[in-house]
Amino acid sequence: MRNRKRTGWHRIINGVNIAAFLVVLFIGLPLYWLIASSFKTPLGIGVDPPQYFPDPLSIANYKSAFVQYDFGIYFRNSLIVTLIATALVLIMGTLAGYALGRLPMRGKFTMLVVFLMISVFPEIALIAPLYVVLYHLHWTNSYQALIIPYAAFNLPFAIWILRNYMLGIPKEMEETGRIDGAGPLRTLWSIILPQALPGIFTASIFCFTACWTEFLMALSFNISNNYRTIPVGVSQFGTIDVTPYATIFAASVVATVPIGILVFIFRKFVISGLTSGAVKG
């Protein structure tokens, strides 16, 4: 076989790198436009030709989001709802995933199929009946109005991810634990969970993102401004006549920060979680 030596610009400009560059451009440009616009003045946003870099650089939009609008409240609400729902999903998902993946049980497959069906059920079809239930429980305009449905909607997918991950852990690990003298909970905590961490991180990021960006239920169940989450809160910025794009951009930038941080910290785990869960399952 002929061995073509790749030197100089050949090494940098090749098909794979060009494709990667285009993908980054495709995803990165809107993100850049969002961040850049959030630092522009309201006038700077609409000018023609467009400003590729904010001039003057202003943080007025960020101030406006927090002061003029109640972005601080929305952010707090989103954080409370998302963190609690994610925690619930992880606790229940891990236990269910372990049971469905590792323990001898009847009807496991049927249960998993039912979970899968629930996870693909269209959310909008459930809004009205759920509203009726929440109304009778006097739970509209509350955190639990979102926490419980969010947890319920995200749990099936988390169970699938975690169950597949647990399946990939050799059963000898548990047996060694038993011989070493570990009880079932100790085995789960000290032996299984540490090995399932990539799966747990993957499930938590999916769940966090889904709850953080959820709009329909948040809009329908919590009408009071005090319980609005970011997606609904930001959608209500402005008046009928004016849409404060620059402020919305600034709020959106702040809203992406927690997800960005989460993905950045756990990126290594998430990648291995996605791949190993898939192939081992």
Binding site: P170, E172, M173, E175, T176, R178, I179, D180, G181, A182, R186, S190, I191, P194, Q195, L197
Partner: protein, 385 residues
């Protein structure tokens, strides 16, 4: 330290599969007992029952003087090394070794001291801070051993612990495992499908087939006096040549194919029961080393065959040959080596490396009748006195 005693132990799974039949076996304190047999013979199931990882369907299992049938693995005071080592990947070598001690709530200084001492025995001191993923196969194997011996268990159980290593390392670790076992002097049950491992490591070897114990004896006894055709065929590499034959008048000779092999008095005395087979079929067993090439003009029983293949190993020639007798296959007994022998020829002999022989030649072997074995074709039991 303790003995292990299995008394008519059975394992029947929920689906009705009878994996272990009436297994009775005693392992003395400090003894290295190897369970060997082909895949699916129930050896791992038997080991797992001793460990407490499988329920015992019937029979009694004792460790020391305690009946442990219904005790959890933890309460049996055993340690087990698994085939895939089952090291905790998120823990360092030191944490892996010390995990069981930590569960026993041993004070940290004592725990550290014991872990260090174990690491020294196994030559793992410099790897204590590494995680299993950063170790070689041999090192991982040693960590698995370390995790077992640090607890000073009464019984040591090993389930094919060397089968994931490459051939060279396996030979090295074979000696190392034996050395460690002798040093700690704990009753050990070792499961393997590799008869060479069984022969080289075990004080005694128990051969299992389809859940039934065939024979339990020292390696030399298994080799020299197998109780049945299965053990004869399973133990030894290359495998024993087993042929359908018929016993001559007064058991003075045996006919293998078209060839008559005279049996000296020593053989008829040693196998006195052979007389009752006069005129009847038997199975004759000949180890490859009992078929040296005949010196020209020498008297004595001979067997002549056509050479199919000659393998020069330096110290000897392995001659694959064909004779006109029907070879007997003991079902499931053939290791990879033996399989090759049956494909390329009907028999295997080990001859002196200076013997001038090549494929296509006709060769005459001087039969070492003292090493001949006879088996009853009905059931395969050995025929002795």
């Amino acid at each position: 330290m303790a003995t292990v005693s299995m008394d008519n132990v059975n394992k029947v799974y929920d689906n009705g599969f009878h994996a272990v039949h009436d297994l009775s076996l005693d392992v003395a304190d400090g003894e290295f007992m190897v369970l060997v047999g082909p895949s699916g013979c129930g050896k791992t199931t038997a080991l797992r029952m001793v460990a407490g990882l499988e329920d015992i369907s019937s029979g009694t299992l004792r460790i020391g003087d305690r009946e442990v049938n219904n005790l959890s693995p933890k309460e049996r005071d055993i340690a087990m090394v698994f085939q895939n080592y089952a090291l905790y990947p998120h823990m360092t070598v030191a944490e892996n070794i010390g995990f069981a001690l930590k569960l026993r709530k041993l004070p940290k200084d004592k725990l550290d001291a014991q872990v260090k001492e174990t690491a020294e025995i196994l030559g793992l001191t410099e790897w204590l801070d590494r995680k299993p993923g950063q170790l070689s196969g041999g090192q991982r194997q040693r960590v698995a051993m370390g995790r077992a011996i640090v607890r000073e268990p009464s019984v040591f159980l090993m389930d094919e612990p060397l089968s994931n290593l490459d051939a060279k390392l396996r030979v090295q670790m074979r000696a190392e495992v034996s050395r460690i076992q002798r040093r700690i002097g704990v009753a050990t049950i070792y499961v393997t499908h590799d008869q060479i491992e069984a022969m080289t490591m075990g004080d005694r070897v128990a051969v299992l087939r389809a859940g039934v114990l065939q024979q339990c004896a020292t390696p030399q006894v298994l080799y020299d006096r197998p109780d049945n055709v299965f053990v004869a065929a399973f133990i030894g590499s290359p495998a024993m040549n087993l042929y359908e034959a018929s016993v001559g008048e007064g058991a003075r000779s045996v006919r293998i194919g078209s060839q008559e092999v005279a049996l000296p008095d020593s053989v008829t005395v040693a196998h006195s029961r052979l007389a009752s087979f006069a005129g009847k079929p038997v199975i004759v067993g000949l180890r490859p080393e009992h078929l040296p090439a005949a010196a020209s003009g020498a008297a004595g029983p001979e067997l002549t065959g056509d050479v199919d293949l000659v393998e020069a190993l330096g110290s000897e020639l392995v001659v694959h040959f064909t004779i006109d007798a029907k070879r007997v296959q003991a079902e499931g007994a053939h290791s990879a080596d033996a399989e090759a022998a049956t494909i390329s020829g009907e028999g295997v002999a080990r001859v002196d490396p200076k013997t001038p022989v090549k494929a296509g030649d006709r060769i005459t072997f001087a039969v070492d009748t003292a090493g001949m074995q006879f088996f009853d074709p009905d059931g395969g039991a050995a025929i002795w006195t």
